[in-house]
């Protein structure tokens, strides 16, 4: 992309094309012959990884849009039907939802790399600013994408973020109304967010082209921060950078696959498995992890307008970085003081992220204010002053010299720091949740479906179904489950005939018939599980004013705090069983009479594990209430565990397929990474 190419194809057909449209020459000069500094380290592979992630998000996103319905009444269920019914729908959805997080992890590493090695300095200012624009577009895209599943967090995230604009004086409220297309977040909002969420990735792709163009004009920066001078300083992009980027990408895919196949909901919020309800705000609103530092900055400022200004300012200040930092030396390797401040800045960002997930009160607010100051001070005070007073170390004469000198490696420690930091931020949401709830934490039970090769216990699923049918289903609906699901692979293992029999026992309303009347007919496999009440009002009237929640997703819609450092281990242990632990504990958590100092509201029951302890559901099950035919003890703890297993299956019906495919993908990727590593070594053997 840096001017006319001298490349001439030998094939006459290609020559014919090349004379008319020099596209092969463009590709050749940009991605084959393009000289790349030979001392690039693995932090430089994140550019390629980001392009890869953009591709993954566009491909999976276009496919999801084939099945998604952008309507307030149907969006939530259409996402669930993608996960449940569409072939490999669960895979595509988890690739896309976790892909967003991977995209942001990669972009943060990419940005910090640029910050550390001074990649924004002359002549790369425009390259850097284009990067900031891409980052802003990514944030907008990520936010609007998060709204689409129309869960509780989607809805309230949309409400809170759009309300930011109401802080603008005079025109704020008009702007917010304009964004909503109504008087509140509603169907028009969802529709336009869907449209824009589809559009923006292509805008990002366009700006990425400019970003790469600017990169190829200025040339890549490198760890030494000196420009290439001779041929010896560079190697051709292909095969050297291609294979190195490829190896980095495969390693990143292993990390990505770990999330997709083993902990797909680790970064998500259980509340987003509850359908959006404009009447109830979740107790603790937390944005996605990648916005947390900015969210903390927003909340730390006691003025509404001030908070919004600071939040946007925290991003915009990046665009001025090339002029705030005037130091001639690019790489922080040779800037002993700047290097230390850089790591302090990283720590500030991580801590801000952690604070963003804490309740906005007391010591957290004070800490947020101090760290917000530190964040801005880094850009507005530290860097401008350092560029005047710091005495840099001697920079190598050339890249070739740098390669020979073999600068001491600190990569490993930096990776450890980043992994810890990421874990801290990721887990802090759960941290915050629990402080809200207080009370004892449900005990962790051992589940057959946990871990990398977990499978449901068929017996437990069938018993759990029996408990659900005889006990839970009298009040709780199961809207996302169909009778056909009982015979699905990886489910309770009913035969089609058995599932048919279950269905035909149930009367389903159908119609109208020729006379215009509704009529009852026996259920069919394609029918949903019928709800116990015709509507929400009837359900509330029959249950003392409380609405028994739908149980289809309950095992993913409930969580509790695991605390630090437990949530870091959870990443490695693939812990995803909060929901079943909670359900099991709740069913056994009734205490009668309640503790003396607890004022129990009328019509409520005391439950140790229910948030706030006052639950409207009476103790639902006691020993020997449901008859087990297989000799399993008919005790409450057994009932609870069985029904929790069943509910985990209804929430994640393709869990077994996911873990099975996950193992195959992991084995494949590890073999592939090994091959890539040795191929890379062979290729680079020529360059040293």
């Amino acid at each position: 992309m840096s001017g006319p190419s001298t490349y001439q194809p030998t094939n006459p057909a290609l020559q014919w094309i090349e004379r008319r449209l020099p596209i092969i020459g463009l590709i050749h000069s940009s991605f084959v012959a393009y000289p790349t500094p030979r001392n690039l380290n693995y932090w430089w592979t994140f550019g390629g990884i980001l392009s890869f992630m953009l591709g993954v998000q566009i491909v999976t996103g276009v496919i999801l849009a084939m099945h998604y319905t952008p309507h307030v009444d149907m969006a939530f269920n259409s996402v669930e039907s993608i996960v449940r019914d569409v072939n490999y729908g669960w895979l595509l959805r988890y690739l896309h939802s976790n892909g967003a997080s991977m995209f942001f992890i990669a972009v943060y590493i990419h940005m910090l790399r640029g910050l550390y090695y001074g990649s924004y300095k002359e002549p790369r200012e425009i390259l850097w600013i284009l990067g900031v624009i891409i980052y802003l577009l990514m944030m907008a895209t990520g936010f609007m994408g998060y709204v689409l599943p129309w869960g509780q967090m989607s809805f309230w995230g949309a409400t809170v973020i759009t309300n930011l604009f109401s802080a603008i004086p005079y025109v704020g409220d008009s702007i917010v109304t304009l964004l909503w297309g109504g008087y509140s977040v509603g169907n028009p909002t969802l529709n336009r967010f869907f449209s824009l969420h589809y559009l923006l990735p292509f805008v990002i792709a366009g700006v990425v082209v400019l970003h790469v163009w600017a990169l190829h004009v200025a040339g890549q920066n490198n760890p030494a921060g000196v420009e290439p001078k001779t041929e010896k300083d560079t190697v051709p992009f292909t095969p050297y950078a291609t294979i190195k980027d490829g190896f980095g990408m495969v390693c990143f895919m292993i990390f990505y696959a770990w999330f997709v196949f083993y902990i797909p909901n680790y970064l998500g919020d259980p509340d987003n498995y509850i359908m959006a309800n404009p009447g109830v705000t979740p107790a603790h609103i937390v944005p996605e992890w990648y916005y947390l530092p900015f969210y903390a900055i927003l909340r730390s400022i006691p003025s509404k307008l001030g908070g919004v200004i600071c939040m946007f300012g925290a991003i915009l200040v990046l665009a001025f970085l090339p002029w705030l930092d005037n130091a001639k030396t690019r790489s922080s390797r040779y800037r002993p003081i700047a290097k230390q401040f850089f790591w302090m800045f990283v720590a500030v960002c991580v801590l801000l992220g952690w604070l963003g997930a804490q309740p906005a009160e007391g010591v957290y607010t004070i800490a947020s204010r101090i760290l917000t100051f530190c964040y801005f001070a880094y850009f507005l005070i530290v860097l401008p002053i350092l560029s005047r007073i710091e005495k840099p170390r001697t920079v190598p004469n050339s890249i070739a010299d740098d390669v020979l000198a073999k600068y001491g490696k600190k990569v490993a420690s930096a990776i450890v720091a980043l992994v810890l930091a990421g874990g801290l931020v990721a887990g802090s949401m759960q941290d915050a949740k629990a402080q809200e709830h207080g009370g004892p934490v449900p005990p962790s039970l051992s589940w057959s479906f946990a871990g990398p090769i977990g499978k449901f216990d068929r017996g437990a699923l069938q018993r759990g179904y029996k408990v659900y049918k005889e006990v839970c289903s009298t009040c709780h609906s199961m809207n996302l489950l169909h009778f056909r699901n009982l015979a699905d692979e990886g489910g309770p293992g009913f035969s089609t005939a058995q599932a048919q029999a279950v269905a035909s026992d149930v009367k389903v309303q159908d119609g109208p018939n020729d006379a215009g009347d509704m009529f009852d007919r026996p259920g069919r496999l394609a029918d949903k599980f019928p709800a116990p009440f015709p509507n929400e009002q009837a359900a509330r009237a029959a249950n003392g004013g409380a609405l028994p929640p739908d149980l289809s997703l309950i095992a993913k819609a409930r969580g509790y705090d695991r605390g630090f450092p437990q949530f870091v281990f959870d990443f490695f242990k693939q812990f995803q069983e909060k929901g079943p632990n909670y359900v099991t504990a709740l069913l056994q958590g009734y205490v009668d009479p309640p503790p003396k100092d607890f004022a129990l509201p009328a019509g409520s029951y005391y439950n140790t594990y229910f948030p706030g302890h006052a639950i409207k559901m009476p103790k639902p099950i006691s020993d020997d209430q449901v008859t087990y035919d297989d000799g399993t003890p008919q005790k409450v703890d057994q009932y609870a565990k069985d029904v929790a297993t069943f509910l985990m299956w209804t929430a994640e019906p393709h869990l077994e397929a996911r873990k099975r495919l996950g193992l195959q993908v992991m084995v494949f990727l590890i073999i592939f990474a090994g091959l890539m590593y040795f191929t890379k070594k062979k290729v680079w053997a020529n360059a040293h």
Binding site: D85, N87, Y88, L91, L92, A526, F668, M676, K682
Partner: protein, 175 residues
Amino acid sequence: MTTTSSAEHTRRDFLFVATGAVAAVGTAAVIWPLISQMNPDASTIAAGAPIEVDLAPIAEGQDIKVFWRGKPIYIMNRTKKQIDEARSVPTASLPDPASDQSRVKEGHDQWLVVIGICTHLGCIPIAHEGDYDGFFCPCHGSQYDSSGRVRRGPAPLNLPVPPYAFVSDSKIKIG
């Protein structure tokens, strides 16, 4: 590079080929779910289960249209005249030869059950129109007789008979 032996060359070539092959396999494996997701999903397949239709309300000479798997199915209670017309035509003279007997269920000769989609380009023919006491397609003028066989026009084939069976004398199960 001058010291590189030919043995090393072979090993290196093998490594490159192996890496490339694994990458190709991986790419192919990724494409599979991306294509497979376009097939009908589980709910669509479940909704395509057989349906039962009660024939009792359909008087002689009348027809109804029901939908099965999104396709309109014509169920026609044919008159004696229509049956005779359909059976008096020499089969060999038809564009898509088939006897009327082969298109209805034995013992239920008055019932014609056909998928009402023109075999030309998929329009819905109108019943009881055209010159053959059968169906007339308004799009391009194809005509079908009282057995649903094509008689005239661009359509190449007869209206297909869906899989169905009589559950009782007045009830059929389509699918």
